[in-house]
């Protein structure tokens, strides 16, 4: 695809400083409690912490023993406890229990709680109610941003999705605003900001308020990032619900990438232990296949292994001196590459095995027909069978949601029967799960007699009537209609197929879904960047429920010479998937942009569904 003004994408800024800042602050906080101490770490802070400061750094700052919050310390003799936690009420109770137990036993210790990324008043309130507020000292570790890769920064807040979109809890928005402020101060000033979604708007406004308050002088600084694009996850649920078929996405769906690294189990490593592998651009093998469609990965890997073999084979016919050179300079690299190669081949095989077993092809076919809107009846029976056979509770739920969201809700008969089937398969507690899914708008019922056009006219009426708009704003998810079909038509999300789609030489972002569907979220970003505004997208916005904005910060300084203008910080509020990342990376390569991804967490369909599931505990 020849692009007229195609330029090479600029290099992303260096985000290592974010890690350094976080580490230095943590060390400072640890030093605030001088002397030896035991450190209790919240389970989901462990992996992020590991990326910031390893155990030896902690030990250097007089951390004695490490505990996971949840586990009861058996008999610690340390007289200082330090808790590194997320601001959650549950954790506060855990801490209060420890302190109260100590009090009962007549032990006196020093307790310090470090909240990350910030402290919430409600937590202090709980400590007070439990009667331990006076016994602890509190601090904040403003660790908002964890760079996972050259171009991915995660806030590691998976609960953002449920808290905001389901519970309507705005508590994390402040964190997002502060994260933006930090990035703006380090790599900004951002000259242009776009966004869509209510949360995006609130975050943006809060961030601007923070900037005004702090009035840091950013004048005259040369920005490294020029544009910022904020997007709510509920703008596009469809993309997140699809099965991923680019390699990185598949690995995430199959093995769960956690904080940029994955545990490959024995079936992958073909040994009896699992291996933890860091997946990022440093991995020479991975970086070449991560964005590829799975079908072309195998070919690539075998090509790669042949090359590798050839390099090994050069040994034959070397004299001693050359051999010495080879061993000292190349062998280590080759061995490393070899190790990675065999791991990824193992992973591929394992994925293949799992996927063929579950009739992966059938499922993909169903997904594609859902996206295109054909054979809905057939797809519905496929889902029904899927539930009946108890293939996988999460997958079934995901397919139901995908059906609902692409069809603007299920027809009442299906809605009832699918739910009944599901409850029979997986237990009645999912009644609550369905309630959640309805609230968030993922699994809804079509109002009888309501055609698509009727919905449209109703939505447009709400949009024009501002007062009504405000009311729906508050409970937007309740009234939310996806209008996917309409949007898909307007934006041309389903590529017209003429002949086979060449997945090795993709021509558009649809390749991340085998050429069947261009991810909506990415398409919106592409369109807005092309137009440098929302102009001309009014129809789509109406269907998307609006809440868009575009603001130029520094007036008139749109000098195209600046590399930074082609670097775009895309902020996904509620999580983004590796498929979206791959699609935008592709777009960046085509158009000479560099996308930096800031997400509240990396997500995929399973994580989204799990967030909605109401567990018994």
């Amino acid at each position: 695809m020849a692009f007229a003004g195609r330029r090479d994408a600029p290099e992303p800024p260096d985000f290592a400083i974010l890690k350094r800042l976080a580490r230095d602050q943590l060390i400072y906080l640890l030093e605030q409690l001088p002397g030896r101490k035991d450190l209790f770490i919240e389970a989901d802070l462990m992996s992020p912490l590991d990326r910031i400061a390893n155990v030896s750094i902690l030990k250097q700052h007089e951390v004695d023993k490490l505990y996971k919050v949840e586990n009861r310390p058996t008999s610690s003799t340390s007289d200082q406890f330090c808790f590194l936690v997320r601001p959650r009420i549950k954790t506060m109770k855990y801490i209060a229990d420890i302190i109260n137990a100590d009090k009962m036993a007549g032990r006196s210790r020093k307790y310090k709680i470090i909240f990350s990324p910030q402290k919430f008043y409600a937590c202090e309130m709980v400590l007070e109610e439990e009667g331990v507020f006076g016994d602890v000292s509190c601090d904040e570790w403003s660790f908002y941003l964890l760079p996972l890769d050259d171009d991915i920064i995660s806030m590691e807040l998976p609960e953002f999705f449920r808290d905001y979109f389901l519970e309507g809890d705005h508590r994390w928005i402040n964190c997002v605003a502060r994260a933006l402020q930090l990035l703006n101060s380090l790599y900004g000033p951002f000259s242009k900001a776009y966004g869509i979604g209510r949360c995006a708007k609130m975050s943006y406004e809060l961030w601007r308020d923070l900037e005004e308050e702090s009035e840091s002088d950013s004048q005259g600084r040369k920005p490294e990032i020029g544009n910022v694009f904020l997007m709510d996850r509920d703008t596009d649920y469809v993309t997140a619900l699809c099965s991923q078929v680019v390699y990185e996405g598949l690995v995430d769906d199959t093995f769960r990438i956690k904080c940029g690294s994955v545990d490959f189990g024995p079936d992958v490593t073909s040994s009896d232990k699992s291996i933890k592998v860091l997946l990022n651009s440093q991995d020479k093998v991975f970086s070449q296949i991560r964005n590829e469609h799975f079908s072309s990965v195998f070919g690539f890997l075998s090509q790669k292994s042949r090359n590798l073999q050839a390099q090994y084979d050069r040994r034959r016919g070397m004299d001693i001196k050359q051999m010495k050179n080879f061993v000292s300079q190349e062998l280590k690299g080759l061995k490393q590459e070899h190790r990675l190669l065999s791991l990824h081949i193992g992973a591929c095989e394992s994925i293949m095995k799992k996927k063929t077993k579950q009739d992966f092809q059938e499922m993909i076919k169903t997904e594609h027909s859902l996206l295109e809107g054909f054979d809905i009846r057939e797809s519905t029976s496929f889902i029904e069978e899927h539930i009946d056979r108890q293939v996988s509770p999460i997958e079934s739920l995901r397919l139901m949601c995908l059906l609902s969201i692409t069809e603007n809700g299920l027809i009442p008969k299906d809605y009832r029967s699918l739910k009944t089937q599901y409850l029979q398969s997986y237990g009645p507690e999912h009644l609550l799960t369905f309630h959640n899914l309805k609230r968030i708008g993922l699994l809804t019922e079509q109002s009888p007699g309501e055609t698509l056009t009727a919905v449209e006219s109703k939505v447009s009426k709400l949009v024009t009537d501002r007062a009504a708009g405000k009311i729906t704003d508050a409970f937007n998810s309740l009234a939310r209609k996806s209008n996917f079909r309409g949007i898909s038509k307007k934006l041309g999300l389903i590529p017209r197929v003429d002949g086979e789609y060449d997945l090795k030489m993709p021509r558009d972002m649809a390749y991340v879904f085998s050429g069947a569907y261009i991810p909506l979220s990415c398409k919106i970003i592409e369109q807005v960047l092309e137009r440098k505004s929302w102009l001309g997208l009014e129809e789509v916005l109406r269907l998307l429920n609006g809440n868009e904005f575009s603001v130029t910060e520094s007036a008139g300084e749109d000098s195209p010479a600046w590399e930074s203008q082609r670097i775009i910080l895309t902020v996904f509020l509620g999580g983004c998937t590796f498929s979206e990342i791959a699609a935008l990376r592709f777009l960046g390569k085509e158009k000479g942009y560099k996308f930096i991804f800031l997400t509240t967490a990396i997500t995929n369909s399973a994580r989204m569904m799990e967030a909605m599931i109401e567990t018994k505990a």
């Binding site: 109770k93 809890d169 508590r171 308020d209 005004e212 009035e215 029967s417 009645p428 507690e429 505990a617």
Partner: protein, 838 residues
């Protein structure tokens, strides 16, 4: 300028002292100073006078008058003293007046005689009364030391963080000590006292007798003692007129002097300069002032009138009815320049500049002389420095002119010191003006810092001058102008004669959107003054809604606070208000308030979910949210241990769901109750766990255990769809390996799921034999797939050929291996060729 050194008085070989007038006092006092209690704050601070204090008779007409003057004698404020008998007056470091009463109560007033607060020095002091008191300043802040009628000492080192300390008793002390002082050594505050010829040191725990080194045994009894400004030196005056000067650690004597005046001096204070080796004390009697130091000679002045000495960092101020003078040691730079016949570079440069102005060639000669010695930079620095020590603008100017002149002949002389000195002097001259009356010396000013000076101007409500200084020195807005404007506004809100609107408007007019201004702070001040309405008006100007909330809460405007908190987007703030409201309002009103604020409501729900589940129920009940109520009951059913409890909770849920018109949920819950009961029966009958399984799993388990009748019963009772039941049954049977039953089942009626699943499931359990039985029964469309699954490629090929379907043929072909399936491959290729021909 010739007589410049006329008021220089030599003391010993090296030092000169001079006394000059700061102000002619404006105060036209009628009383003698000796009849008043006097307190003058250091650093050119204000002077407090309590007139008539000496009179013991308590006729109300002759109430003592408390007056506060500036250093130039301008009256700042006065009030009649209505409280108890005052023993001592003193100033704090932040220029508040401490009035120490006989009963040990200390009243704090500001510069304008406005009462701020009071505290007591404790019961012991209250009982025994205050005999004497001293106010002292250390790194801890301002302290107060009391000598009680019982001859005991009590002190506090910081009046803002009051911790009273009672010093140990001095053994055998029958009468009050002749003199005493507070010392501060190594961060410890101690008291030194003299009784007759003995010196005692009181620290926190003990009392010890001390003897100053080198003290002549014939010196006699101690009458006065003086501690230097920095607590480093101590001077003792005895009744033989002998003065001992040494370190306050009492480890070393510095010098001594014999004044041969035996009468006790009225005051004795140190006169020193930071970084000077010269040490001298100033001793005052009724008509005589003496400067004594390391010399056999001393300097004597005659005092025309009653005077009062104020020790300063770099000299002594002398107050009297008519004048206010400053006595100090001439700094080195000034000495060098002005000393008669000085050949110091600075002196020559000053001379050169003067000659230059006279257009005389001597200028060049002088200049050359300095340049030859390569001392020009030093000469310039000397002139700049000396300018700082001068009080007269004329002298300052001539020195600065000389410096500027000398600068022209130096390459790249850094201009900062010169510019800075010009600026500093301009500021100093401005505040020394008698209207302002702060006679700061350059040394004091540097020690005090510009920030504190600005604070002091603000304290005196000299806002315009402070702002001018900020602007002149180009201080950042937040540090300078905005801060002062904020103070002004805080003062403004106290003007009770103006209406709320007027005041709010005036403040907003002046402050506008100046950065760094906190309207909420000003509003807080207004609220403190009892002007709630004004406070609310001011808060409207506060751009950060987050800042408005705490004050609104304090003012009990909780609902307003709630909407402001929501506006701010800071959920933490919303929480603060919500939990505050929860305690403030009764439950009903609280819930009603939340109903109107969805953001707050959802936050509170989140809180309740974890912390107060009961409240959650009330919350849903309140707004008839039956759906959520139903969910709540379902949720709580999980925590019920006993099955009756669980059924009860679920029954509640059913009721709620019906009310919510959610028939589906109600039905599903009813089914669950039914299932629970059934499961209990099963559990009893088969002695196996069935509880909490899903319907599917229950039925599946029943089949696995061979209870086919029971399974059938459930299938009918719960109207399990045929498809599901068939799927369920065959997979359970296959798992159980009950192939016979499976075959029987397959023939019971026509399978609603077709027969491919039978094949699949048998293959899955590695039973090809069984699988083969079902392959022929599969519908023709799926037959190829079925035969391939059972591994019968031949039949698969036949089926594909029968369908004339090329795709299927290719599929079968792809499964064939060349070596073993030759016949099949041939057959297929033939059929394919035929198909293509057509």
């Amino acid at each position: 300028m010739d007589c410049y050194t006329a008021n220089w008085n030599p003391l010993g070989e090296e030092a000169f002292y001079r006394k000059f007038e700061l102000y002619a006092m404006e105060w036209s006092l009628k009383e003698d100073l000796r009849d008043c209690l006097v307190a003058a704050a250091p650093y050119g601070g204000p002077i407090a006078l309590l007139k008539n204090s000496g009179r013991k008779e308590k006729s109300p007409s002759a109430r003592p008058l408390l007056e506060i003057y500036s250093a130039s004698g301008l009256l700042l404020a006065s009030i009649p003293w209505k409280s108890g008998q005052l023993v001592h007056l003193g100033w704090t470091a932040s220029e508040d007046l401490l009035c120490i009463q006989e009963d040990g109560t200390v009243l704090i007033y500001n510069l304008f005689c406005e009462f701020k607060r009071h505290f007591s020095m404790g019961n012991e002091v209250l009982q025994n009364h205050v005999l004497e008191a001293k106010v002292f300043h250390t790194e801890y802040g301002t302290g107060v030391a009391i000598l009680t009628g019982a001859h005991r000492f009590s002190l506090t080192t910081n009046i803002d963080d009051l911790k009273l300390r009672r010093m140990p008793e001095v053994p055998g002390l029958q009468k009050p000590p002749s003199c005493w002082a507070v010392l501060s050594q190594d961060r410890v505050t101690i008291v030194l006292l003299a009784v007759g010829q003995d010196l005692y040191l009181l620290d926190n725990t003990s009392c010890s007798v001390v003897t100053p080194p080198g003290m002549s045994p014939a010196a006699g009894a101690y009458l006065r003692m003086a501690v230097s400004f920095n607590y480093r030196c101590l001077a003792l005056f005895t009744d033989t007129g002998y003065i001992w000067m040494g370190l306050s650690t009492l480890k070393e004597k510095l010098c001594e002097f014999n004044s041969s005046i035996r009468s006790p001096p009225k005051q004795m204070v140190w006169c020193m300069r930071p970084r000077s080796r010269q040490r001298a004390v100033v001793v005052a009697w009724d008509h005589q002032l003496m400067v004594a130091g390391n010399s056999t000679e001393c300097i004597q002045f005659v005092l025309d009138e009653d005077s009062y000495l104020v020790p300063e960092l770099d000299g002594v101020r002398i107050l009297s009815r008519t004048s206010h003078e400053f006595l100090h040691e001439i700094p080195e730079a000034s000495q060098e320049i002005f000393k008669i016949a000085s050949m110091a570079p600075g002196a020559l440069l000053l001379e050169a500049q003067k000659e230059y102005e006279k257009e005389s060639q001597k200028a060049d000669e002088y200049l050359r002389e300095i340049k030859d010695q390569k001392l020009l930079p030093e000469a310039v620095s000397q002139c700049i420095e000396a300018a700082g020590y001068e009080h007269e603008p004329e002298t300052q100017k001539s020195l600065l002119r000389a410096a500027s002149f000398g600068k022209c002949f130096i390459d790249k002389f850094p201009p900062e010191s010169f510019v800075r000195m010009c600026q500093d002097l301009r500021v100093l001259n401005a505040i020394r003006d008698y209207q302002i009356g702060i006679p700061l010396t350059f040394t004091q000013y540097k020690r005090l810092t510009i920030e504190v000076l600005l604070d002091r101007l603000v304290l005196r409500r000299l806002y315009p001058l402070a702002i001018r200084i900020c602007e002149y020195l180009r201080l950042s807005e937040i540090q300078g102008v905005s801060r002062i404007l904020a103070h002004w506004a805080c003062y403004k809100v106290q003007q009770k004669d103006k209406s709320d609107e007027e005041v709010a408007h005036a403040i907003n007019q002046k402050l506008g959107d100046t950065p760094g201004i906190s309207y909420s702070e000003i509003a807080a001040r207004a609220y403190d003054c009892g002007r709630t309405e004004l406070a609310i008006k001011l808060l409207e100007y506060e751009p950060r809604s987050g800042e408005q909330v705490p004050l609104l809460l304090k003012m009990k405007r909780s609902k307003l606070a709630l909407s402001k908190a929501i506006e701010s987007g800071d959920t933490d703030l919303v929480y603060t208000v919500v939990l505050h409201l929860k305690n403030e309002l009764n439950r009903g009103t609280f819930f009603m308030t939340l109903q109107n604020q969805p953001v707050a409501l959802s936050l509170y729900r989140q809180f309740c979910k974890h912390q107060e589940r009961k409240t959650l129920k009330d919350l849903y009940n309140q707004d008839d949210n039956h759906q959520e109520l139903g969910n709540f009951h379902v949720h709580s059913s999980y925590s019920e241990q006993r099955i009756e409890g669980r059924v009860g909770a679920l029954q509640n849920a059913v009721d709620a769901y019906y009310k919510a018109k959610n028939e589906f949920a109600a039905k599903a819950t009813e089914d669950q109750i039914k299932l629970l009961r059934l499961q209990r029966h099963l559990q009893e009958d088969f002695d196996k766990p069935y509880l909490d399984l899903s319907l599917h799993d229950t039925v599946s388990n029943l089949i696995l255990d061979g209870h086919h009748k029971r399974a059938e019963q459930l299938y009918r009772e719960f109207k399990i769809p045929d498809k599901r039941y068939w799927w369920l049954k065959i997979s359970a049977l296959a798992t159980r390996g009950d192939w016979e039953e499976m075959e029987k089942f397959s023939k019971s009626k026509k399978s609603p799921i077709g027969y491919l699943p039978f094949v699949e499931i048998s293959v899955k359990h590695h039973n090809r034999y069984e699988a083969k039985k079902y392959a022929p029964r599969v519908t023709p469309e799926q037959r190829v797939k079925a035969f391939i699954l059972v591994g019968d490629l031949d039949q698969a090929a036949d089926a594909a050929i029968e369908h004339k379907n090329e795709n299927e043929m290719n599929f079968v072909l792809s499964k064939c291996t060349a070596s073993t399936d030759v016949a099949v491959v041939e057959k297929l290729n033939r059929a394919r060729a035929q198909l293509l021909k057509k």
